[in-house]
Symmetry: C2
Subunit: 234 residues, 2 copies
């Protein structure tokens, strides 16, 4: 009997935002795998570090952050071979996923390589999208609002057109694109409708207006939320 | 000292998809309020019925389902007066919210009436959006995908234009609009890219292709997910 593969959504960062299900499954898996940066730091692991147990085997998946996709794909190939061996031995394998495994998550690369061969379950998690809205104290979308999720690397014209066409917008992955997107939103006159949220639900969480964010680059775990009606909830 | 108001995201339906935080806060609140249909049935309450305790006071908020907004607004006015009395007495009040309180949720109507006067915390929850993607075993969005959330009541032309412009689309609240949206998606040739998910994470969950859904109307808790690339995760 082979083991089961679990993609566990861990939520946005506060360890208490794990679901009861992810918490239970995590405690039962012999193997716990997670992506790490090349320096070895893993945000996903840090979320659940208090829940991990000595007898669990940890597998850190080092993903090179290169523009070309080849090196990352090779890393996922290697990782999926290592996890296959664990699953073939009958071990349960949890893959830790920040937020939700299928909402802009890297779990899909392992899922694509392993789900056809092993019983696989994806456990959805709280996304940073709604965690940021909660942090802001402002509804993300209501009634018949249209809502767009837009990655910041898109070109200005494409961002502008889509922002104009929707009631509510989340701009994700601002990172090194922040200054450009900030300039665009100010040019569009959206300074009162847009808010920047960084590291939602962590002790280091920050909420800033578009004018207040001074940095050229912002952390990966940040987002800009825009709603045309500040009073959507009245 | 007044009590605290909590908007608790309960997730899509499986009671195990509550967060540890919502589970803890729910157990500590003297008052538990939730919206109900006029026949008294409450989906939010059903999710946590096993977690409720005898000493907790329950307040059912009956919301009339009328097209004009007046009667519903009056019901929220009445409910907020009742919850104000509880909070003034120093009681902690949990408002139960299916999914996430700020993702197309009705909690915002109470939030708008009470958050300025009482300490308020919104606890984000797993949305049906990612729960449906997990049920399908297909990533919702990846890398620089654009993702649109579109309520089905929008007119055909508007839906079509937005669907064409995005990599991934979730059509929410199909209900009595299902047959029209189904016809639109088939006309657009999206039968292989679109999937219908009903009551995700519940025992009654169903996943169907667009052609398989025969009903004129479908349950409120259903969604259509579309992704242009079936192979986003390879």
């Amino acid at each position: 009997m082979s083991g089961r593969l679990y993609g566990l959504g861990l939520g946005p960062g506060d360890p208490e935002l794990l679901t009861l299900k992810a918490h239970r499954l995590l405690a039962s898996c012999e193997v716990v795998a997670y992506p790490t940066l090349e320096d070895g730091e893993s945000f996903a692991r840090s979320i659940v570090s208090d829940y991990l147990q000595d007898w669990q085997r940890e597998i850190a998946i080092r993903i090179p952050m290169t523009v070309e996709r080849g090196p990352a794909q090779a890393a996922y190939d290697r990782a999926s071979r290592e996890l296959s061996d664990c699953l073939d031995s009958g071990h349960q394998v949890a893959v830790l996923c920040e937020g939700d495994p299928f909402f802009y998550g890297s779990f899909m690369y392992l899922f694509g390589r392993l789900a056809a061969r092993f019983p696989t379950e994806v456990v959805p998690g709280v996304t940073s999208l709604t965690a940021c809205a909660a942090a802001l104290g402002a509804p993300l979308a209501a009634r018949n609002d249209t809502l767009a999720i837009l990655p910041a690397p898109l070109p200005d014209e494409e961002l502008e057109e889509r922002i104009r066409a929707f009631d509510a917008v989340a701009i994700i992955k601002p990172g090194r694109h922040f200054a450009r997107v900030q300039a665009l939103l100010l040019r569009m006159g959206l300074q009162d409708q847009a808010r920047y949220v960084e590291r939602a639900t962590l002790a280091t969480q920050r909420i800033l207006s578009m004018q207040e964010v001074a940095e050229d680059g912002v952390p990966y775990f940040s987002m800009i939320l825009i709603h045309r009606r500040g009073d959507a909830w009245r």
